[in-house]
């Protein structure tokens, strides 16, 4: 590509970055709003380009080799556009129902094996031997059971000793969940920092400082 175009492109990217950063570094302003609307148009435009190309290569091109069923399927999905016609908007439900039914069916069969049975099986770890220490295994088993108990228990609590002991279990569950939320927060800082520092790195490179 022409070096002038490459340089101009870098200039445009730096300018758009500065426009967006003007909001936290100064305050909301017109150039920030302009950049926001540009972002919306670009994102939707990009998604449309990819979708149209996919439909053309997967549904229209095979029709030239005799597979007309794919074209019929594509025309059926155009019922989604009836959402803009108030009188016929209910027809949108027909193609959507395929997506919903298939998504639900796939989720039902895969979640059961992986996230239900698989995770329960993974919790059945030996408390005496194994690769982790017994204390670690005990903590994993206890924390898993306590967190499940927190969301699934519904027994009315009495003021007896058993009831008061039962009452302390949700508190313990919350402590373990707080460890998880804290770990997520602590890890998540890196994500947000990198999103910002990536743009700083780009600007420094564009200015020839890095």
């Amino acid at each position: 590509m022409d070096p002038i175009l490459i340089t101009f492109g870098t200039f445009v990217a730096v300018a758009l970055t500065v426009m967006i950063f003007s909001y936290p570094l100064y305050r909301e302003n017109r150039i920030y709003r302009f950049a926001e609307f540009t972002a919306v148009a670009a994102a939707v435009g990009n998604a449309t380009v990819v979708a149209v190309r996919y439909l053309y290569t997967s549904n229209v091109m095979p029709a030239f080799t005799g597979n007309y069923l794919l074209v019929v399927e594509m025309v059926f999905t155009f019922l989604l556009f009836t959402t803009f016609l108030r009188k016929y908007a209910y027809l949108t439900r027909l193609p959507m129902s395929f997506l919903v039914g298939i998504g639900s069916g796939i989720a039902l069969r895969t979640v059961l094996e992986t996230q239900f049975v698989g995770q329960i099986w993974g919790t059945m770890i030996p408390l005496i031997s194994g690769s982790k220490t017994p204390v670690d295994n005990l903590i994993i088993v206890v924390s898993t059971i306590l967190v499940i108990f927190y969301f699934l228990h519904s027994k009315r609590l009495s003021s007896s000793l058993a009831g008061r002991t039962y009452q302390s279990l949700p508190k313990l569950s919350r402590y373990f969940m707080m460890v998880f939320f804290g770990a997520t927060l602590g890890s998540g800082v890196a994500t947000f920092v990198i999103w910002c520092s990536g743009r700083i790195m780009f600007i420094l490179r564009a200015l020839g400082l890095m």
Binding site: T17, F98, V111, T144
Partner: protein
Amino acid sequence: MSAIVRQRLPLLIVLISGLIMIGEFFFNVSGVASVAAEVRFLAVTVAATAMIVAAVSVTMNNLRNILKRTKGQWPYHLWCVVLLWFWIIFGLYSGPTSENYLWFFNNILAALYASILGILVFSLFMGFYRSFRIRGIESGIMIASAFLVMLGSITIGDLIWPGFAPLSQWILAVPNAGAYRGLIIVMAIGLMAVAFKTIFGMDLSWMGILRSVTAGKKKEKRP
């Protein structure tokens, strides 16, 4: 006829396509597998078409504001529509992997979205200063866990104390893994329940109907 097409037919489609997916998994029948393959591809086609509907929807929303001449806003909406359709026409003409399209993609779309996500860090750090208060044991545990994981993942943590990295790994691998495992199992139960209700027509929220199927029906008295 209208009621059948509005409600019954979509529910029937959901039931049949859901049962085909489940049946394919549990029963090794060749006929079911080929029907399932075609139905799955139809779902992919629906998802692709929905993305085009988004473009039309954005255009119409912006045109509404342009025609209303919303004060101070309509020039932005006009710019949005013009850029959107220029992008689509140019993208379809040159292709999403061409050098020219990548110029627009990298210098406009990537720059903007990376920056939009990049400014979130300032709100996060503002929240650290203003909102993160240790008000009890629970918040104390949360902040302690956050600090230990942070110190274990950064290079300076190793300089302060070499034990931070193994401690952070332990927190992630033991109490954190156990707690999140409980959450995964509970979420799986919820997801299975929602999927089951959707397939068998007990949950109509995807159609925009928020009432339950049995609402309004009188309960029969048992003898």
